[in-house]
Symmetry: C2
Subunit: 229 residues, 2 copies
């Protein structure tokens, strides 16, 4: 266990968009709950970080049962989530002591590669933070159905996780009130005046939110995960 690298994996989702009774982080992907793939991805990165998992309080029992059923023994601590992703991250951060870097990651992004995780840690050490993002292949418009304008897609980024920060710095950034514009951790840090550093993400590193995403994730895992950007 590396005391200078922490991974905070946030899985508060209720699974509504999946049309499923099971919260999406527990849906099985190639025979194993999505969240186990995600935790293993961090455990297998080098050096292996200290892993903190944030789950809603009422899912803790289900999680410990799933760990037994799947003989899942990757060491991690378990923290209760809050009302929104923001509150869950805040709870998770409060539980981590010491210093070093923390990677904050969506529980339903099981396809983050070892290479991407390590790159984000390395770049955050250099620049203070690092978040992965990819350029869209599509034309981008900003606006509404009836009024919009084309945006320069060369300047547009689709943001992913893990988002890596200095632990003390991101803790201090989260010491604020919730704001609905906080859709990720970089937006909280930006709100607090930090400059954000982007590293090139991976197209495979999808967030699983719909049944279509399950089909895509299964296909990518089955293919051995070709990396294309």
């Amino acid at each position: 266990m590396n005391q200078n690298r922490h991974a905070l994996i946030v899985a508060g989702g209720s699974g509504t968009r999946m049309g499923s009774e099971i919260p999406k982080q527990f849906i099985e992907l190639l025979g194993k709950p999505i969240i186990m793939h995600t935790i293993s991805a961090f455990y297998n990165s080098s050096p292996s970080p200290n892993i903190v998992l944030v789950l809603p309080q009422n899912e803790h029992l289900r999680w410990s049962e799933l760990c037994k059923v799947h003989s899942f023994h990757v060491p991690h601590s378990l923290i209760s989530g809050g009302e929104t992703r923001f509150h869950s991250v805040k709870n998770g951060l409060a539980s981590i002591e010491g210093d070093g870097l923390v990677a904050i990651h969506d529980g339903v992004r099981p396809l983050a590669s070892k290479n991407l995780i390590e790159k984000c840690f390395v770049e955050a050490l250099k620049n203070g933070n690092a978040i992965p993002a990819i350029k869209p292949h599509e034309t981008i418009r900003l606006g509404t159905h009836t009024q919009s304008r084309v945006e320069n897609r060369e300047l547009c980024w689709l943001v992913q996780t893990p988002q890596v920060f200095k632990l003390a710095e991101i803790k201090s950034c989260y010491n604020t009130n919730y704001n609905s514009s906080f859709t990720d951790d970089a937006s909280v840090a930006e709100w607090q005046g930090k400059e954000i550093f982007i590293v090139d993400g991976e197209k495979e590193n999808i967030k699983i939110t719909t049944p279509l995403d399950m089909i895509i994730a299964t296909a990518i895992m089955g293919s051995g995960g070709i990396t294309t950007r």
Copy 2:
């Protein structure tokens, strides 16, 4: 054949990003060149449009051979492409006579559904034009690796095709010089002062540009194409 509906399918790509010798529109998806799936999607929409295919001049012979090999008999006319997508569309539009509506579509988007194609035609008849687009699930940033700011993702659209316009109007819009900001047809129309109308697209309607996209497209087709937004 419906004289009031035209489909202009543009396939000028060289396939560089696919790491393949074969232009990407000819790569086989479930046993058939991608472009044949695309043409069939329009042919199967109702009422079936007049189909115009734009291919680089030096691929016309290969195309007629592929049509023989695959017993592909969907009626369409074949036009030579130009230097860029803009020039290819311009050539294609010049070949279409009469009036009505034209759907301009990327040859490498074989998964546009019958429903989406029909909706774009219907909405364009009402509003003058219609382009499909989807909201990203990701946080969006605008800027560079080292300097960027978060954008309101509620206002952000990832634009797809088919983009449907009144034939006379889009012909007139294309009567301009090429500009590198023209990444789709709506950006050309916007440049000429037109307001653009967005309809909700489909996440499945991907543009195949990388080997990963082939894996995803194969998985979606194999699954029967669940529609999720």
